[in-house]
């Protein structure tokens, strides 16, 4: 099986939709979900792979576009495709309560989002990455504005404008790379990047940082994020937080490790990530809207991930993989449950958590919140512990202190929310979940608990993936070796 299917099949599905619509209302939904289940299964079948797989499109690598499926990217591909599958399954039951207008278009957008997220992770051609960057961007803009009320449209306009500016910087960086190196292939660029003059290297890195920085939601460039989360609908927030940001994060650091293998700006990036976490948590303290609160919490976690990935250290990257896994799942749980709460109680103010009458949902949400917080025996703890440990070993006590302070602030509001969920108060009407939704949410929560209590099950894989991601030399050898 070829890794190209991860992109070709969702696109094929998207183009097929006018035919599938003839099958009735459920035709598109079921076809899309079945295809996503197939893709998730395919992704898991790649887990055992010994050697990285190189997939050639049209002509051989340094000239053409190709896809690399190695241990690091297979983790992200499997995460994205299985989370998207779970999302679709959840939505299939959720739509009894609330369904989007033009459902067929909604499913098209889900699939293009999945295809572009996977494309960003797999592609090794920088212009191809730009194309996927734009597909993911456009799908996300439309999903933001999907509800067509004033808030959603305004969020869409803001998202679209920042995205356009980001893509201008990215395009300029790609142009400078092509003019000076004469290639678009990441491996060849990585090989020749050392030889460029210093100020050009700095400029290209700066432009790449500006281009991706808007999308990876790092501190000075993340002013738009909370508006987008508040404006778009709650279910979709889950996708943004769990899939879109993670794909951009992976591709940004993938390019960074290839271009700057010795970690030239890493101290700057580590402190920027830590600062980003601190600022977001401070702002999060004052929020009264749950969607905004979770958005800022998401920004905080992204800051932590940014700091961890910047460390060029396999232990820290291992921790970052854990956080990616834990945070994606936890935020998925939180936003999916929040969408049920919003539908039932018509409010997303934080005081609503005092009034909800849904013991099971509350319990699952509690697990997710505690996992984000990094409470032992949950997956988030392992990630945070690994990151802080390797920071201590590297002597980065400043960044460590900032992250600890930020975690403290995080615990203030998450404990407040947990208190709201557990305190004995006058509760509203009972919110009953569908059985399938309960099973899906419990499955996600179970994953968090399993990865937290028995991290040794996945530590080997994570360590290997982290080493593969850091190892620029064998990546270059894999691509350029295919020429002969």
């Amino acid at each position: 099986m070829s890794s190209i299917l991860f992109i070709a099949l969702p696109l094929l599905f998207a183009f097929c939709v006018p035919l599938l619509e003839k099958l009735g209302r459920n035709g598109v939904a079921y076809a899309s979900t079945l295809m996503q289940i197939f893709l998730a299964a395919l992704a898991f079948s790649f887990f055992g792979l010994e050697h990285p797989q190189l997939e050639i499109i049209a002509i051989a690598p340094p000239l053409g576009i190709s896809f690399v499926l190695d241990q690091a990217s297979v983790f992200f591909v499997a995460l994205f495709s299985s989370l998207m599958t779970l999302f679709s399954l959840y939505y299939l039951w959720q739509r009894k309560i609330k369904s989007y207008k033009n459902e067929a278009k909604f499913f098209i957008l889900l699939n293009t989002l999945l295809a572009s997220a996977v494309g960003l992770v797999l592609s090794n051609d920088i212009f191809n990455i730009y194309v996927f960057f734009e597909i993911a961007g456009i799908s996300a803009y439309i999903l933001t504005a999907y509800e067509k009320n004033a808030k959603a449209l305004e969020a869409g306009i803001k998202y679209l404008l920042t995205g356009s500016v980001a893509s201008i910087f990215l395009v300029l960086a790609i142009m400078l790379i092509y003019i000076n190196i004469g290639s678009l292939n990441l491996a060849l660029i990585a090989q020749n990047f050392e030889t460029l003059p210093y100020n050009l290297k700095v400029l290209i890195s700066l432009l790449l940082f500006l281009g991706f920085g808007f999308k990876v939601e790092i501190f000075p460039l993340n002013f738009w994020v909370s508006d987008v989360y508040e404006g778009s609908s709650t279910l979709i927030n889950g996708l943004f937080s769990a899939i879109v940001v993670k794909a951009y994060l992976f591709v940004f650091f993938h390019i960074l490790y290839l271009l700057l293998p010795s970690g030239e700006f890493s101290h700057f990036l580590i402190y920027l990530g830590a600062l980003s976490m601190l600022v977001s948590q401070i702002v999060a303290l004052k929020q009264t809207n749950l969607k905004r609160l979770f958005a800022y919490s998401s920004l905080g976690q992204v800051g932590l991930l940014f700091a961890a990935f910047s460390m060029h250290d396999s232990d820290a990257i291992m921790g970052a993989f854990f956080i990616v896994f834990a945070h994606s799942i936890a935020k998925m749980i939180l936003f999916l449950s929040l969408s049920n709460i919003e539908e039932h109680y018509k409010s997303v103010d934080i005081s609503i958590l005092q009034k909800i009458n849904a013991p099971y949902l509350g319990f699952i949400m509690l697990i997710a919140m505690l996992s984000i917080l990094g409470i032992p025996l949950l997956a988030g703890f392992v990630g945070k512990f690994l990151i802080l440990k390797s920071m201590a070993l590297d002597g980065l006590f400043g960044a460590m202190a900032i992250i600890l302070i930020a975690s403290l602030l995080e615990s203030v509001y998450y404990f407040k929310l947990s208190g709201y969920l557990t305190q004995k108060e006058e509760r509203g009407t009972l919110l009953s979940l569908d059985l399938v939704q309960k099973i899906l949410l419990s499955f996600l929560a179970l994953l968090l608990v399993t990865a937290g209590t028995a991290p040794f099950l996945v530590l080997d894989f994570a360590a290997h993936a982290a080493n593969v991601m850091l190892d620029a030399q064998s990546y270059i050898a894999l691509i350029l070796g295919a020429v002969q």
Partner: protein, 236 residues
């Protein structure tokens, strides 16, 4: 023109910020503007003489970097879908349009076949001369635009265009998958492409076929975009 108001504080600070950024970029590029001679483009040109068609840009767009073009088609498809979604208005009444004048109506009738022909020409000869699917498709869409603005009772054949669009999208991916099946590379050129035929209309294997498919897809997407943007205001 009030000069004082124009030079408000925000303008000056904006200008300063913009200048600093652009001057930095300018300065760095000015210091090292070295154009490498052994670029990937020259290697592709060398390959073009036994893999490609007469128009090297078409070879690159459709074949060597064909995956980008698939992505680009997807972008256009999603954008068209999004515009339809955002601008569709179920409460819209088919309001009365002003009667467009006689000159415009006659000219549109006369011009539309010519524009269509020109678009198809640009599309079909994309592998031999400048032009191709994108340009041809947009030209055809501009013909549709002319019909839309000139005539009150012109209705776009939605069903037909949707079928064409679906067919084009599916066949693009299918051609890619056939290449994967037969030649082990997605979008591989599995049809005979004899270089002695270069410059003929029927040459280049799948390249002209894909470009025509791209043209159909772009033409129908652009027609939808144009129609949606034009007719949104027609209620109340």
């Amino acid at each position: 023109m009030n000069l004082k108001r124009k030079l408000a504080l925000s303008d000056i600070s904006g200008f300063a910020l913009a200048s600093v950024l652009v001057l930095t970029i300018f300065n760095v590029i000015l210091q090292n503007s070295l154009l490498t001679q052994n670029s990937a483009g020259n290697a592709l040109l060398a390959l073009s003489s036994h893999e490609g068609v007469a128009n090297a840009v078409t070879t690159v767009v459709v074949y060597f970097r064909g995956f980008d073009t698939l992505g680009e088609i997807a972008v256009l498809f999603i954008a068209s879908l999004g515009i339809g979604l955002i601008l569709e208005n179920p409460h819209a009444k088919q309001g009365k349009k002003e009667e467009s004048n006689f000159m415009l109506k006659t000219a549109a009738k006369l011009l539309f076949p010519i524009i269509l022909l020109f678009g198809i020409y640009i599309m079909v000869y994309g592998h031999l001369s400048p032009g191709g699917g994108f340009q041809g498709g947009v030209i055809i869409a501009s013909g549709v635009l002319l019909l839309l603005i000139s005539s009150n009772n012109f209705h776009m054949p939605h069903k037909l265009i949707a079928i064409l669009e679906t067919f084009a999208g599916i066949s693009y991916v299918f051609i890619g998958l056939i290449g994967l099946l037969l030649l082990d590379t997605f979008l591989g050129n599995f049809l005979p492409h004899d270089i002695s035929q270069m410059g003929m209309l029927f040459s280049g294997g799948i390249i002209p076929i894909i470009y025509i498919i791209v043209g159909i897809k772009v033409g129908s997407e652009m027609s939808f975009i144009v129609q949606n943007l034009l007719q949104r205001g027609e209620h109340d």
